[in-house]
Symmetry: C2
Subunit: 233 residues, 2 copies
Protein backbone atom coordinates (compact mmCIF):
# COMPACT_ATOMS: atom_id res chain seq x y z
CA UNK A 1 0.00 0.00 0.00
CA UNK A 2 1.55 3.27 -1.04
CA UNK A 3 2.47 5.30 1.95
CA UNK A 4 0.87 8.70 2.43
CA UNK A 5 -0.80 9.17 -0.94
CA UNK A 6 -3.42 11.49 0.52
CA UNK A 7 -0.70 13.62 2.11
CA UNK A 8 1.14 13.82 -1.21
CA UNK A 9 -2.00 14.83 -3.09
CA UNK A 10 -2.81 17.33 -0.39
CA UNK A 11 0.62 18.93 -0.72
CA UNK A 12 0.41 19.06 -4.52
CA UNK A 13 -3.04 20.59 -4.67
CA UNK A 14 -2.23 22.96 -1.84
CA UNK A 15 0.68 24.28 -3.87
CA UNK A 16 -1.63 24.73 -6.85
CA UNK A 17 -4.11 26.67 -4.73
CA UNK A 18 -1.37 28.87 -3.28
CA UNK A 19 0.12 29.98 -6.59
CA UNK A 20 -3.33 30.04 -8.20
CA UNK A 21 -2.66 27.49 -10.88
CA UNK A 22 -6.18 26.76 -9.65
CA UNK A 23 -7.79 30.09 -10.42
CA UNK A 24 -9.92 31.75 -7.74
CA UNK A 25 -13.52 30.61 -8.11
CA UNK A 26 -12.60 27.90 -10.55
CA UNK A 27 -14.32 24.60 -10.27
CA UNK A 28 -12.14 21.56 -9.81
CA UNK A 29 -12.81 18.67 -12.16
CA UNK A 30 -12.13 15.62 -10.04
CA UNK A 31 -11.70 13.17 -12.89
CA UNK A 32 -9.27 15.38 -14.76
CA UNK A 33 -7.27 16.24 -11.66
CA UNK A 34 -7.14 12.64 -10.50
CA UNK A 35 -5.76 11.61 -13.88
CA UNK A 36 -3.23 14.42 -13.82
CA UNK A 37 -2.04 13.40 -10.36
CA UNK A 38 -2.23 9.71 -11.19
CA UNK A 39 -4.61 8.60 -8.48
CA UNK A 40 -8.26 7.71 -8.19
CA UNK A 41 -10.99 10.03 -7.04
CA UNK A 42 -11.25 8.50 -3.57
CA UNK A 43 -7.89 9.69 -2.14
CA UNK A 44 -8.16 12.85 -4.23
CA UNK A 45 -11.42 13.80 -2.57
CA UNK A 46 -9.96 13.07 0.85
CA UNK A 47 -7.18 15.55 0.11
CA UNK A 48 -9.68 18.08 -1.23
CA UNK A 49 -11.73 17.79 1.94
CA UNK A 50 -8.66 18.58 4.02
CA UNK A 51 -8.03 21.66 1.92
CA UNK A 52 -11.61 22.79 2.47
CA UNK A 53 -11.11 22.55 6.22
CA UNK A 54 -7.88 24.53 5.90
CA UNK A 55 -9.60 27.30 3.99
CA UNK A 56 -7.91 26.83 0.61
CA UNK A 57 -10.97 25.50 -1.18
CA UNK A 58 -14.71 25.71 -0.86
CA UNK A 59 -17.24 22.98 -1.32
CA UNK A 60 -20.83 23.11 -2.53
CA UNK A 61 -22.89 19.98 -2.18
CA UNK A 62 -23.88 18.74 -5.60
CA UNK A 63 -21.52 21.12 -7.35
CA UNK A 64 -18.14 20.02 -6.11
CA UNK A 65 -14.93 21.72 -5.01
CA UNK A 66 -13.84 25.22 -5.98
CA UNK A 67 -10.68 27.15 -5.47
CA UNK A 68 -11.39 29.83 -2.93
CA UNK A 69 -12.12 33.32 -4.16
CA UNK A 70 -10.56 36.11 -2.11
CA UNK A 71 -12.28 39.44 -1.67
CA UNK A 72 -10.37 42.46 -0.40
CA UNK A 73 -12.05 42.03 2.97
CA UNK A 74 -11.06 38.39 3.19
CA UNK A 75 -7.43 39.15 2.43
CA UNK A 76 -7.53 41.93 4.98
CA UNK A 77 -8.99 39.51 7.52
CA UNK A 78 -6.06 37.20 6.97
CA UNK A 79 -3.54 40.02 7.34
CA UNK A 80 -5.20 40.96 10.62
CA UNK A 81 -5.19 37.41 11.91
CA UNK A 82 -1.51 37.26 11.07
CA UNK A 83 -1.04 40.49 12.99
CA UNK A 84 -2.83 39.11 16.04
CA UNK A 85 -0.67 36.00 16.04
CA UNK A 86 2.65 37.70 15.42
CA UNK A 87 2.05 40.29 18.09
CA UNK A 88 1.63 37.53 20.60
CA UNK A 89 4.59 35.61 19.23
CA UNK A 90 6.82 38.68 19.50
CA UNK A 91 5.92 39.13 23.15
CA UNK A 92 6.66 35.52 23.88
CA UNK A 93 9.91 35.68 21.94
CA UNK A 94 11.06 38.52 24.16
CA UNK A 95 10.43 36.30 27.17
CA UNK A 96 11.63 32.97 25.85
CA UNK A 97 14.13 33.25 23.01
CA UNK A 98 17.70 32.37 23.94
CA UNK A 99 20.40 34.90 23.12
CA UNK A 100 22.13 32.32 20.94
CA UNK A 101 18.98 31.73 18.90
CA UNK A 102 18.56 35.45 18.39
CA UNK A 103 22.19 35.81 17.36
CA UNK A 104 21.70 33.07 14.81
CA UNK A 105 18.67 34.86 13.40
CA UNK A 106 20.72 38.06 13.21
CA UNK A 107 23.35 36.18 11.23
CA UNK A 108 20.61 34.97 8.92
CA UNK A 109 19.55 38.57 8.29
CA UNK A 110 23.15 39.52 7.56
CA UNK A 111 23.44 36.65 5.12
CA UNK A 112 20.18 37.25 3.26
CA UNK A 113 19.65 40.94 3.83
CA UNK A 114 20.78 42.47 0.58
CA UNK A 115 17.83 42.32 -1.84
CA UNK A 116 20.05 43.01 -4.85
CA UNK A 117 20.10 40.14 -7.32
CA UNK A 118 17.51 38.09 -5.45
CA UNK A 119 14.30 36.86 -7.00
CA UNK A 120 11.01 37.82 -5.39
CA UNK A 121 10.45 34.15 -4.62
CA UNK A 122 13.72 33.99 -2.68
CA UNK A 123 13.00 37.20 -0.81
CA UNK A 124 9.55 35.93 0.12
CA UNK A 125 11.00 32.68 1.41
CA UNK A 126 13.53 34.62 3.50
CA UNK A 127 10.78 36.88 4.81
CA UNK A 128 8.52 34.05 5.86
CA UNK A 129 11.44 32.22 7.41
CA UNK A 130 12.23 35.24 9.57
CA UNK A 131 8.68 35.54 10.80
CA UNK A 132 8.18 31.84 11.36
CA UNK A 133 11.43 31.61 13.27
CA UNK A 134 10.21 34.29 15.64
CA UNK A 135 6.93 32.43 15.93
CA UNK A 136 8.88 29.30 16.83
CA UNK A 137 10.44 31.18 19.74
CA UNK A 138 6.99 31.33 21.29
CA UNK A 139 7.34 27.57 21.79
CA UNK A 140 3.75 27.12 20.82
CA UNK A 141 2.95 24.60 18.11
CA UNK A 142 -0.56 25.94 17.50
CA UNK A 143 0.76 29.44 16.95
CA UNK A 144 3.21 28.05 14.42
CA UNK A 145 0.64 25.89 12.69
CA UNK A 146 -1.91 28.67 12.39
CA UNK A 147 0.63 31.22 11.21
CA UNK A 148 1.90 28.84 8.56
CA UNK A 149 -1.63 28.35 7.32
CA UNK A 150 -2.36 32.07 7.16
CA UNK A 151 0.94 32.84 5.46
CA UNK A 152 0.29 30.21 2.82
CA UNK A 153 -3.13 31.59 2.06
CA UNK A 154 -1.89 35.14 1.51
CA UNK A 155 1.40 34.16 -0.08
CA UNK A 156 0.39 35.19 -3.57
CA UNK A 157 -0.74 38.63 -2.39
CA UNK A 158 2.40 39.09 -0.35
CA UNK A 159 4.45 38.11 -3.38
CA UNK A 160 2.85 40.98 -5.26
CA UNK A 161 3.09 43.33 -2.30
CA UNK A 162 6.76 42.57 -1.76
CA UNK A 163 7.73 44.23 -5.02
CA UNK A 164 7.11 47.67 -3.56
CA UNK A 165 8.58 46.83 -0.15
CA UNK A 166 11.90 45.28 -1.04
CA UNK A 167 13.88 48.14 0.43
CA UNK A 168 11.97 48.63 3.68
CA UNK A 169 11.73 44.97 4.64
CA UNK A 170 15.30 44.29 5.67
CA UNK A 171 15.54 47.36 7.89
CA UNK A 172 12.25 46.59 9.59
CA UNK A 173 13.25 43.00 10.25
CA UNK A 174 16.49 44.18 11.75
CA UNK A 175 14.67 46.64 14.01
CA UNK A 176 12.23 43.99 15.21
CA UNK A 177 15.03 41.60 16.02
CA UNK A 178 16.98 44.30 17.84
CA UNK A 179 13.97 45.11 19.99
CA UNK A 180 13.59 41.45 20.89
CA UNK A 181 17.29 41.15 21.69
CA UNK A 182 16.97 44.22 23.89
CA UNK A 183 14.06 42.44 25.61
CA UNK A 184 11.88 45.47 24.92
CA UNK A 185 8.43 43.97 24.67
CA UNK A 186 6.49 47.14 23.91
CA UNK A 187 8.84 48.20 21.15
CA UNK A 188 8.95 44.74 19.61
CA UNK A 189 5.17 44.52 19.45
CA UNK A 190 4.85 48.05 18.05
CA UNK A 191 7.41 47.34 15.34
CA UNK A 192 5.78 44.06 14.39
CA UNK A 193 2.46 45.87 14.22
CA UNK A 194 3.81 48.51 11.91
CA UNK A 195 5.59 45.96 9.80
CA UNK A 196 2.58 43.75 9.18
CA UNK A 197 -0.37 46.14 9.15
CA UNK A 198 -1.64 47.15 5.72
CA UNK A 199 -4.04 49.88 4.81
CA UNK A 200 -7.14 48.72 3.01
CA UNK A 201 -6.17 50.46 -0.21
CA UNK A 202 -2.80 48.69 -0.22
CA UNK A 203 -4.58 45.36 0.01
CA UNK A 204 -7.09 46.39 -2.62
CA UNK A 205 -4.21 47.25 -4.92
CA UNK A 206 -2.61 43.82 -4.42
CA UNK A 207 -5.90 42.03 -5.05
CA UNK A 208 -6.48 44.09 -8.20
CA UNK A 209 -3.00 43.31 -9.43
CA UNK A 210 -3.55 39.64 -8.64
CA UNK A 211 -6.66 39.54 -10.80
CA UNK A 212 -4.89 41.37 -13.60
CA UNK A 213 -2.10 38.83 -13.66
CA UNK A 214 -4.38 35.82 -13.50
CA UNK A 215 -7.24 36.84 -15.76
CA UNK A 216 -5.90 39.53 -18.06
CA UNK A 217 -2.29 38.67 -18.68
CA UNK A 218 -2.57 35.80 -21.11
CA UNK A 219 0.83 34.19 -20.68
CA UNK A 220 1.24 34.54 -16.95
CA UNK A 221 3.84 32.22 -15.44
CA UNK A 222 2.93 31.22 -11.92
CA UNK A 223 5.57 31.92 -9.28
CA UNK A 224 7.59 28.97 -8.04
CA UNK A 225 7.36 29.58 -4.31
CA UNK A 226 10.18 28.09 -2.33
CA UNK A 227 10.74 26.81 1.15
CA UNK A 228 13.71 28.15 3.05
CA UNK A 229 16.03 25.29 2.17
CA UNK A 230 15.18 25.57 -1.52
CA UNK A 231 15.89 29.31 -1.47
CA UNK A 232 19.29 28.94 0.20
CA UNK A 233 20.76 27.29 -2.88
Amino acid sequence: MSDGLVEALHADIRAMAIDFRLKPGERINEVALSKRLDASRTPLREALNRLVAEGFLTFESGKGFFCRKYSVTEVQDLYQLRQAIERFAAERAVELAADAELAELAAFLDRTGDPAGRSLEDLLAFDEHFHETIASFSQNAEIGRTLANVNARIRFFRWIDLGSRRQRTQGEHRAILDAIRARDKGKAVALVDGHIARRRDEIAEAVKECHARLFVEDDFVHPAFKTMDQACA
Copy 2:
Protein backbone atom coordinates in the same frame (compact mmCIF):
# COMPACT_ATOMS: atom_id res chain seq x y z
CA MET B 1 -28.54 12.47 -3.83
CA SER B 2 -28.69 13.22 -0.16
CA ASP B 3 -27.61 16.75 0.50
CA GLY B 4 -24.61 17.43 2.69
CA LEU B 5 -23.98 13.97 4.14
CA VAL B 6 -20.28 14.69 4.65
CA GLU B 7 -21.14 17.88 6.54
CA ALA B 8 -23.57 15.98 8.74
CA LEU B 9 -21.05 13.25 9.51
CA HIS B 10 -18.43 15.90 10.18
CA ALA B 11 -20.69 17.64 12.67
CA ASP B 12 -21.58 14.37 14.43
CA ILE B 13 -18.02 13.14 14.78
CA ARG B 14 -16.80 16.59 15.73
CA ALA B 15 -19.25 16.57 18.62
CA MET B 16 -17.98 13.15 19.67
CA ALA B 17 -14.38 14.38 19.61
CA ILE B 18 -15.27 17.48 21.62
CA ASP B 19 -17.00 15.69 24.49
CA PHE B 20 -14.54 12.79 24.26
CA ARG B 21 -17.03 10.08 23.50
CA LEU B 22 -14.04 9.33 21.30
CA LYS B 23 -11.41 8.92 23.98
CA PRO B 24 -8.08 10.71 23.54
CA GLY B 25 -5.67 8.46 21.68
CA GLU B 26 -8.39 6.01 20.78
CA ARG B 27 -8.34 4.51 17.33
CA ILE B 28 -11.45 4.99 15.24
CA ASN B 29 -12.89 1.89 13.66
CA GLU B 30 -14.21 3.08 10.34
CA VAL B 31 -16.52 0.16 9.66
CA ALA B 32 -18.11 0.31 13.10
CA LEU B 33 -18.50 4.09 13.01
CA SER B 34 -19.91 4.08 9.50
CA LYS B 35 -22.53 1.53 10.55
CA ARG B 36 -23.33 3.55 13.63
CA LEU B 37 -23.81 6.71 11.59
CA ASP B 38 -25.56 4.83 8.81
CA ALA B 39 -23.28 5.72 5.93
CA SER B 40 -20.53 4.07 3.96
CA ARG B 41 -16.84 4.47 4.58
CA THR B 42 -16.28 6.84 1.67
CA PRO B 43 -18.11 9.91 3.02
CA LEU B 44 -17.10 8.95 6.54
CA ARG B 45 -13.43 9.14 5.64
CA GLU B 46 -13.97 12.48 3.93
CA ALA B 47 -15.41 13.83 7.16
CA LEU B 48 -12.56 12.32 9.16
CA ASN B 49 -10.03 13.98 6.88
CA ARG B 50 -11.63 17.34 7.52
CA LEU B 51 -11.40 16.75 11.25
CA VAL B 52 -7.71 15.93 10.89
CA ALA B 53 -7.14 19.25 9.14
CA GLU B 54 -9.06 21.01 11.91
CA GLY B 55 -6.93 19.45 14.60
CA PHE B 56 -9.54 17.23 16.23
CA LEU B 57 -8.11 13.94 15.01
CA THR B 58 -4.76 12.58 13.94
CA PHE B 59 -4.00 10.26 11.09
CA GLU B 60 -1.29 7.65 10.70
CA SER B 61 -0.86 6.10 7.31
CA GLY B 62 -1.58 2.41 7.52
CA LYS B 63 -3.01 2.68 11.02
CA GLY B 64 -5.99 4.95 10.51
CA PHE B 65 -7.62 7.81 12.38
CA PHE B 66 -7.23 8.52 16.08
CA CYS B 67 -8.87 10.96 18.42
CA ARG B 68 -6.30 13.54 19.33
CA LYS B 69 -4.47 13.19 22.61
CA TYR B 70 -3.94 16.46 24.51
CA SER B 71 -0.86 17.03 26.61
CA VAL B 72 -0.74 19.86 29.14
CA THR B 73 1.47 21.82 26.77
CA GLU B 74 -0.93 21.38 23.90
CA VAL B 75 -3.87 22.60 25.94
CA GLN B 76 -1.79 25.53 27.11
CA ASP B 77 -0.88 26.30 23.49
CA LEU B 78 -4.56 26.48 22.64
CA TYR B 79 -5.32 28.75 25.60
CA GLN B 80 -2.54 31.05 24.43
CA LEU B 81 -3.77 31.10 20.86
CA ARG B 82 -7.17 32.00 22.19
CA GLN B 83 -5.58 34.79 24.18
CA ALA B 84 -3.78 36.15 21.11
CA ILE B 85 -7.01 36.19 19.12
CA GLU B 86 -9.24 37.65 21.82
CA ARG B 87 -6.79 40.41 22.62
CA PHE B 88 -6.94 41.52 19.04
CA ALA B 89 -10.70 41.13 18.89
CA ALA B 90 -11.13 43.26 22.01
CA GLU B 91 -9.12 46.08 20.48
CA ARG B 92 -11.13 45.97 17.31
CA ALA B 93 -14.38 45.81 19.28
CA VAL B 94 -13.43 49.04 21.01
CA GLU B 95 -13.03 50.64 17.60
CA LEU B 96 -15.93 49.08 15.74
CA ALA B 97 -18.73 47.89 17.99
CA ALA B 98 -21.86 50.00 17.87
CA ASP B 99 -23.27 51.25 21.15
CA ALA B 100 -26.51 49.43 20.46
CA GLU B 101 -24.70 46.13 19.96
CA LEU B 102 -22.83 46.62 23.21
CA ALA B 103 -26.04 47.49 25.03
CA GLU B 104 -27.59 44.30 23.74
CA LEU B 105 -24.63 42.29 24.99
CA ALA B 106 -24.99 43.99 28.37
CA ALA B 107 -28.63 42.94 28.45
CA PHE B 108 -27.52 39.40 27.68
CA LEU B 109 -25.20 39.47 30.68
CA ASP B 110 -28.03 40.75 32.87
CA ARG B 111 -30.28 37.97 31.66
CA THR B 112 -27.80 35.12 32.05
CA GLY B 113 -25.50 36.45 34.72
CA ASP B 114 -26.72 34.68 37.82
CA PRO B 115 -25.00 31.27 37.92
CA ALA B 116 -27.43 29.93 40.52
CA GLY B 117 -29.49 27.04 39.24
CA ARG B 118 -27.69 26.83 35.92
CA SER B 119 -25.99 23.71 34.62
CA LEU B 120 -22.31 23.90 33.76
CA GLU B 121 -23.24 23.22 30.14
CA ASP B 122 -25.51 26.26 30.09
CA LEU B 123 -22.91 28.47 31.74
CA LEU B 124 -20.31 27.34 29.25
CA ALA B 125 -22.61 28.12 26.34
CA PHE B 126 -23.27 31.57 27.79
CA ASP B 127 -19.57 32.12 28.29
CA GLU B 128 -18.61 31.16 24.77
CA HIS B 129 -21.45 33.24 23.38
CA PHE B 130 -20.16 36.29 25.19
CA HIS B 131 -16.64 35.85 23.84
CA GLU B 132 -17.70 34.98 20.31
CA THR B 133 -20.02 37.99 20.22
CA ILE B 134 -17.10 40.24 21.05
CA ALA B 135 -15.07 38.46 18.39
CA SER B 136 -17.86 39.16 15.92
CA PHE B 137 -17.49 42.88 16.65
CA SER B 138 -14.05 42.68 15.05
CA GLN B 139 -15.89 42.15 11.75
CA ASN B 140 -13.32 39.58 10.77
CA ALA B 141 -14.56 36.19 9.63
CA GLU B 142 -11.18 34.50 10.00
CA ILE B 143 -10.90 35.65 13.60
CA GLY B 144 -14.33 34.22 14.27
CA ARG B 145 -13.64 30.95 12.49
CA THR B 146 -10.32 30.39 14.22
CA LEU B 147 -11.66 31.30 17.64
CA ALA B 148 -14.59 28.92 17.20
CA ASN B 149 -12.19 26.13 16.32
CA VAL B 150 -9.94 26.78 19.31
CA ASN B 151 -12.88 27.06 21.69
CA ALA B 152 -14.27 23.76 20.47
CA ARG B 153 -11.00 21.99 20.99
CA ILE B 154 -10.60 23.13 24.59
CA ARG B 155 -14.29 22.99 25.44
CA PHE B 156 -13.98 19.91 27.60
CA PHE B 157 -11.15 21.39 29.64
CA ARG B 158 -13.00 24.66 30.02
CA TRP B 159 -16.05 22.73 31.17
CA ILE B 160 -13.95 21.26 33.95
CA ASP B 161 -12.25 24.55 34.67
CA LEU B 162 -15.52 26.45 34.85
CA GLY B 163 -16.52 24.61 38.01
CA SER B 164 -14.05 26.60 40.07
CA ARG B 165 -14.68 29.88 38.26
CA ARG B 166 -18.44 30.16 38.35
CA GLN B 167 -18.39 33.13 40.66
CA ARG B 168 -15.63 35.18 39.04
CA THR B 169 -16.79 34.79 35.47
CA GLN B 170 -19.81 37.05 35.47
CA GLY B 171 -18.00 39.95 37.10
CA GLU B 172 -15.06 39.69 34.74
CA HIS B 173 -17.33 39.62 31.71
CA ARG B 174 -19.09 42.70 32.98
CA ALA B 175 -15.80 44.52 33.50
CA ILE B 176 -14.58 43.64 30.01
CA LEU B 177 -17.77 44.86 28.44
CA ASP B 178 -17.70 48.08 30.48
CA ALA B 179 -14.16 48.79 29.30
CA ILE B 180 -15.21 48.28 25.69
CA ARG B 181 -18.24 50.52 26.17
CA ALA B 182 -15.95 53.16 27.67
CA ARG B 183 -13.79 52.75 24.54
CA ASP B 184 -10.80 52.10 26.77
CA LYS B 185 -8.63 49.89 24.59
CA GLY B 186 -5.79 49.33 27.04
CA LYS B 187 -8.10 48.38 29.87
CA ALA B 188 -10.19 46.09 27.69
CA VAL B 189 -7.13 44.20 26.48
CA ALA B 190 -5.69 43.92 29.99
CA LEU B 191 -8.95 42.58 31.37
CA VAL B 192 -9.32 40.06 28.55
CA ASP B 193 -5.76 38.96 29.18
CA GLY B 194 -6.39 38.41 32.85
CA HIS B 195 -9.67 36.67 32.17
CA ILE B 196 -8.28 34.14 29.70
CA ALA B 197 -4.72 33.51 30.88
CA ARG B 198 -4.19 30.35 32.91
CA ARG B 199 -1.22 29.29 34.90
CA ARG B 200 0.36 26.03 33.81
CA ASP B 201 -0.61 24.28 37.02
CA GLU B 202 -4.26 25.26 36.51
CA ILE B 203 -4.20 23.66 33.08
CA ALA B 204 -2.38 20.62 34.40
CA GLU B 205 -5.09 20.23 37.01
CA ALA B 206 -7.84 20.36 34.37
CA VAL B 207 -6.04 17.82 32.17
CA LYS B 208 -5.55 15.51 35.15
CA GLU B 209 -9.20 15.80 36.09
CA CYS B 210 -10.16 15.14 32.48
CA HIS B 211 -8.20 11.89 32.46
CA ALA B 212 -9.70 10.87 35.76
CA ARG B 213 -13.22 11.34 34.48
CA LEU B 214 -12.59 9.55 31.20
CA PHE B 215 -10.38 6.67 32.22
CA VAL B 216 -10.96 6.12 35.92
CA GLU B 217 -14.58 6.99 36.56
CA ASP B 218 -16.31 3.97 35.12
CA ASP B 219 -19.78 5.36 34.58
CA PHE B 220 -18.90 8.81 33.32
CA VAL B 221 -21.68 10.55 31.46
CA HIS B 222 -20.36 12.83 28.76
CA PRO B 223 -21.50 16.44 28.95
CA ALA B 224 -24.18 17.53 26.49
CA PHE B 225 -22.61 20.73 25.25
CA LYS B 226 -25.10 23.25 23.94
CA THR B 227 -25.10 26.03 21.44
CA MET B 228 -26.45 29.36 22.59
CA ASP B 229 -29.96 28.82 21.24
CA GLN B 230 -30.19 25.41 22.88
CA ALA B 231 -29.11 26.86 26.20
CA CYS B 232 -31.65 29.68 26.11
CA ALA B 233 -34.53 27.25 26.49
